[in-house]
Assembly symmetry: D2
Homo-oligomer: 305 residues x 4
């Protein structure tokens, strides 16, 4: 006699979501969020060997944070007010089989891995300094910022339409990040602060810092967005995350057209305008999805009525 297994009812997903929020925040409230670095603060010396120290639990986030009143279909506006380091150093590293110019777990080859190496940087006078050649200005931003996806509970390493590990330098102080609210309370999280990063985050590890992040939340009720948007004082931006990279590019520009249409643009004129004046850079070329940022200057995007 074979035992029979039936689902008790019809439920659509194997996996349940989300842990308990660590805090609840009101729209309009300003909070300081403390984040640890993408290595869980575990790499502290150039003699450390990351592949021996780190397990699979990378890129720890602070959250989820419950946003009061947030309901599916709303948009969460996150004003990034400030990022301050909570220690006087940053760390980067070349890791085996991770990065933009190496065989990886997803782009598999039979080549031997690259040499592993930790780079320590001291934070001093608004610079991150490893030596006289590797000395870069303080340009902090949030590598990871997102809300909970509707039905998945994906790794903090993944960027997607919920935001997440986008690694785009425009999630920085002075800018506002708009994120979709897919579950009640939004379940905001952030972490992975960088003292600075080049486009693409080439080796896969930026200038990783622990930080105090000052944020103010607003809720736009009843206005849904499909992909993360960023507004700076002068630009409108959309972040697309996908593989291959051209799919991320298509998403970013297609959603920027959506945004422009909300501002009154004709679809085909928006397409034409972005052809002539849009900007498109690579945020990351190393994560589980690549993230590209499409942007337009407000001087062009904002129609006079």
């Amino acid at each position: 006699m074979i035992r029979e297994i039936r689902q008790p009812g019809t439920h659509s997903f194997v996996f349940s979501p989300y842990p308990e929020p660590i805090a609840s925040v009101r729209p309009g409230e300003t909070v300081a969020v403390y984040t640890i670095d993408a290595f869980g603060d575990l790499i502290t010396s150039e003699t450390d060997i990351p592949s021996k120290i780190l397990g699979n639990h990378l890129n720890p986030q602070t959250g989820p944070i419950f946003i009061e009143g947030a309901e599916p279909g709303d948009t969460l506006a996150v004003h990034i007010l400030d990022i301050e380091p909570t220690r006087d150093w940053a760390v980067s590293a070349h890791l085996p089989n991770f990065g933009g110019l190496t065989s990886t777990g997803l782009t598999r080859t039979l080549n031997e891995p690259l040499p592993e190496k930790v780079f320590m940087y001291r934070l001093e006078d608004k610079f991150a300094i490893h030596n006289e050649r590797l000395k870069f200005p303080w340009r902090p931003f949030l590598g990871t910022i997102g809300t909970a996806p509707e039905i998945e509970a994906i790794s903090a390493l993944a960027p997607g339409n919920h935001g997440g590990n986008m690694d785009v330098p425009d999630t920085k102080p002075g800018n506002t990040v708009y994120l979709p609210v897919c579950v009640e309370g939004g379940y905001f999280f952030t972490g992975d602060c960088h003292a600075g990063q080049g486009d693409g985050e080439l080796c896969g590890v930026a200038l990783e810092i622990a930080a105090k992040v000052t944020l103010k939340f607003d809720l736009i009720k009843g206005a849904s967005i499909a992909w993360p948007r960023i507004e700076s004082p002068t630009e409108l931006m959309v972040v697309g995350s996908a593989r291959p990279m051209e799919d991320a590019a298509r998403i970013a520009y297609a959603e920027l057209i959506e945004w422009m249409m909300e501002l009154g643009w004709d679809k085909w004129e928006a397409y034409q305008a972005l052809t002539q004046i849009g900007k498109l850079y690579v945020g990351n070329m190393v994560d589980t999805n690549y993230s590209l940022v499409a942007k337009i200057d407000k001087a062009y995007a904002m129609l006079s009525s």
Copy 2:
């Protein structure tokens, strides 16, 4: 005074995994698992409009099923003994913005969506029959079969190194599917049975059926695999799932070399052998990751000692 939010300790992931298992199974035990179709059995007529009926909770699975004694680092062997339909019809459909030859949510364009259309098939005399042109033999397999990923709780629509929604026709009766055990108990799930499917699952929807699936589980203790493997009476196979498609191809062949090395092959001779005699077909070109199957005939793979 700004409120400060700190994580109570260092925890690495925002999101918690997995619901309670619906059953617990011993290795060696044969069970019958009942699955509903990928539409949750909601599309029953050619006048149905899927985009109005279906929400985001697609591809419901039966599970998780707890495998007694399964621990991370083990491999779960799933012998597929039989698949029987539990109704006398199958359904397929062309959905807007989903499929292999259309603009989609990930490959975004400004084109208008394709026309939506439901195709009902009756199951009769070992055929699925829509009309005299669309009449296909009964070649059932499990579209989705997997274990829980280590740290994520991803959608039942996603294939990956845990298996999942691979849509490869070789997960069929007579074959054994090997899956990695990443969490205690493995948390096996399956669903999305197909009465048949072409390579690629071109429009995104195969011949979707509800089914009774007879499975027998074995546990290979202390033997870990990185990606799903399939063994037929005559072939060894690995399924790679990634985007772009060449990354899935690389994974499938690279892991097949790993398997051959476990069987005694020299790495470079295995690479050479697969160059001359390997097979590589497209399982799906429509899901969140594309799944490709690399295979070698046992007549070549099994070294005489």
Copy 3:
């Protein structure tokens, strides 16, 4: 005084095409074409070091062959009657920075190249034999077969809509290859014969042979095709060549729908049929474009009227 450079008239391309044909062939005529191997017959021993011997002039072809009466808009049917080896050995090799599981000139990484190695095979009793593990049956086909593209004169290493270096095992004796005629005379060429090859041509080098190829040409006047087609006694096939691999897959299936529509199929029923019964395998995953073959069994494709 600055010298001014103006084009003497308006001509659209910098580059002129094609050398003089080496032969002129009538439709209906059967010819024997002698081809040398993809290394120009230069690698003859396992102590040879290909990277020192080979320059950039790889994959030499025999041609162009002028097809009498062929005009742009026609289709050239090439019946592959026979392939005989003209020597008793085949050669394969692992080359640095070339192949499917290595960093390459197009998929650039910083990893060290794989070890270089030549594999000699003797052709004996319908097998290619390197040693007891690397012993494969005689399954000869034309790695490269094509016509001149309309406006380009591209390398013999490139596959495309003109055919070329597709490396798909179905260009074999018993099958007919249909190629577009883009210039007067078609300018047919072939070469790169393989004693056998796995799907994907994984390391980039199959069982390379010099051969005598017996072909018969037919001309289908006024019937144009956009991509190469192959007809076997039992199947209809289209070869798509592009990067990333999913673009090649899309081309192959989209053009197979075109072919089915020419046979009387409704577009959407053809899409549905290929979803349920189509086949899709990887011909090469190593050339400048990847080549995928979509196919349907004639038993399904041929509508009874």
Copy 4:
């Protein structure tokens, strides 16, 4: 008796290269090159229907120009001194099945094409003006600039390691473009001038102009480069062209590391530096290859000795 076709000798490529040069230029000489627009100056009104007017001979170039003394292995430095329009208008267009947000000949879908539309712009007061919304500043550059590839004679629509149709806005006055010399005389060509273009050239057609281009050539003897480089007063750049887009990104950054190593950098420090301070934008996402530009500020790249 079957006729036999043998190649008279062993020659490696079917196709011969290049037409006669239209001019010969000495290194150090400044010349004015006149270019027509990418449509061959054939679209002159918003009532024109490009798909009916244009054939396959798109993107006409001026050239080839023979550079005296240029030999394979040299590098050609092209100083872009000035670009002046030779008429008072520019043209853009949305073409069917061409562009970044549409089904195309390479990314095939079954969707209906986008509407075709011509946009005329008048050039006035350093602006290109279609209407009050579509009004963009004069930012001219050379869409296409290249030398002859070593063995191919590819379409003027293709970008590659020889340069060509890269559509990157940094090939502009004030900058120097370095191109590989692959054949004697280099066979320089240019065309496809744009009055301006956004990153990606989203719809596939920028602000197309006819122009007088003032260039000065220099020859760097015995110094070979693998991919095009650009030097501005403040930045070093490399253009990678490939599909998928991540391959173009890898090429651009890998070659920028090569350049930095020529300047004295350690390979791994260069990798680390570009991770933290590199820039990477999309030049085109519409051509036969995508072109990405990786760059580093000279303030970081130039090591003090």
